[in-house]
Amino acid sequence: MQRRHFLKAGLGVAALGITGFARADARTTYQRFHAALARDQELTVYANLEGSQQGHAHVEGRIPDELQGTFFRNGPGRFELGGERYHHWFDGDGYAQAWRIEGGTVTHQGRFVETRKFLDESAAGQFLYPAFGTDIARRGFRDNDSLNTANTNLLPFNDRLYALWEGGSATELDPATLATIGIHTWRDDLAAMPFSAHPKIEPDGTLWNFGALPGGDRLALYRIGADGKVLQAGAVEVPKLALQHDFAVSARHLVFVVPPYDISDDATLSLAERHVWAGEQRGARIIVVAKDTLAIRRVYDLPPRMAFHFGNAWDEAGGNVTQVDLVLHDGDFLKATSRVMEGEREPNRPALHAAMRIRLDHASGKVAATRLLDGAEFPRVMPQAVARRHGRLAMLSSDAQNTSLTLDTVNVVDVERGRTDSWRFAAGWRAEEHVLVPRQGARSETDGWLVGVAQDTNTATSMLTVFDAARVAEGPVALARLPYRTPHCFHGNFLAV
């Protein structure tokens, strides 16, 4: 067993030898958040949850007859245990949710993913293991999957359901009950590999994904057939690789953005804290990988930007040009997702969070960027447009009039004409990711619905939202309101029946 090689995997050089130690301010974070929550009810979206949920939603308006299926969603639900509170929004344990639409009625179910971490810590009554943004080290652990929170996405694929994290394996759940089946290994030699929460599924059912361990400088790549069998797996070396959350897939390429972070080896810091913004020294890089060889085709320079989410990409000019739509944050946005856990609000600066169109010319190496929408996040396209030229991009945004960054607006952007079809929710409402759901046999990218979840923090209730994808500005055609609040999700996918 070669220690050096194992450690080189990344994650872990952190805090070797430190045991029985947890940062003292996990309790301070708890106290600060609860003090802030007492005066600001909008912070309930970051509040802790215990137990499972099951309920019927009251439908306002009318659910379209043709919209039938399950909206599977996932996000962190448990932030607090034993009087401690995590420091980062990404740390919480995964809480899987299913909104089931049948015959115009909507039911909701929510259940924690029973990862080994969740079970161990539940039994202990306290956090034991390091989380992304909170360096807890009460117990040793085997590998990245020992820390897997399965908290980022819920993906129906090949008649199965997977709760996805980004630093480890997919966790299989029972789609009917959301009960945890266990860690899924795509192939024996891929056990405990990082498998990101943002796989892309092409219209033919092929799934592409990547995986990275920050500091590991290696990007694993996967092509998985619609039957769940691994068709291709490999890795590319990317120096100074940092948090890698999402990517885009075109007909011939995989597109990544590597933000300018240095990874500190300070053993007393969490992985999030070890991401030291280096935007003053260097910019971000776009890495374009050729699908056929799984080798890097070209690397492009960008200004210093952070990227979480990609919309889509497509190729032109026989594969010599790739266009990609994504959201770029100007500066160290990773820190902001930590501050909210203390109950701090982020100032609203829409120009710093822009949905962009990037054109990459592989022959000349030229990059051209066009701004699509300010204050944006969570871009999605219709499933039939993945890896092809898309005309519509659905995303959330924070209205320019908000004083603090609040994703309160849903948009379908016509990326060819630059027109935006938007709806802003009422004060105290907060939108979660919305996805485009095609009508069966859809003839266009607006032939279907925009489906999401919104939280009304005035009443501490959550609702499923349904918009006509061609007429978002007219407001939701249906809101299915639960009598309770659901944990705020990161990502989800609609499975039509």
């Binding site: 220690r3 090689h5 194992f6 080189k8 085997r142 056990a191 590999m193 990082p194 694993a220």
Partner: protein, 135 residues
Amino acid sequence: MIRTALLALAFTTPLATAADLVVRVDNVQSTSGQIMVALYDNADAFLKHPVRAEKAKADKAGTTLVFHDVAPGDYGFAVFQDINDNGRMDRNLMGIPTEPIAFSNNAQGRMGPPDFAAVKLAVPAAGLDTAVTLR
């Protein structure tokens, strides 16, 4: 006669001062391949240069391996199940072991092997029975 007895004693002396280290390996989930145990006697050699190694057919009921004639002292051991019988501990593309592993004292590192101080156990002259759990 006395001389013969002394000679016999001389030959059996190692059994008196160097004893057995018995390692029971639990949580063997499959009967495939061998359970491999490497024994180390100092921090510098740990995971590099074992003083001894043993292997045994994987047994779901628990696999027991015996190091005979171990001189008293401090040791640490590393275990893996060579499920595919290729003679080495397999790793994935990121370097993480894909076959079950364990260390003496059931020590665990943090995203890597534990250090020698955590795996170190004292083998007395009378020998030692110890158990570890594969993970």
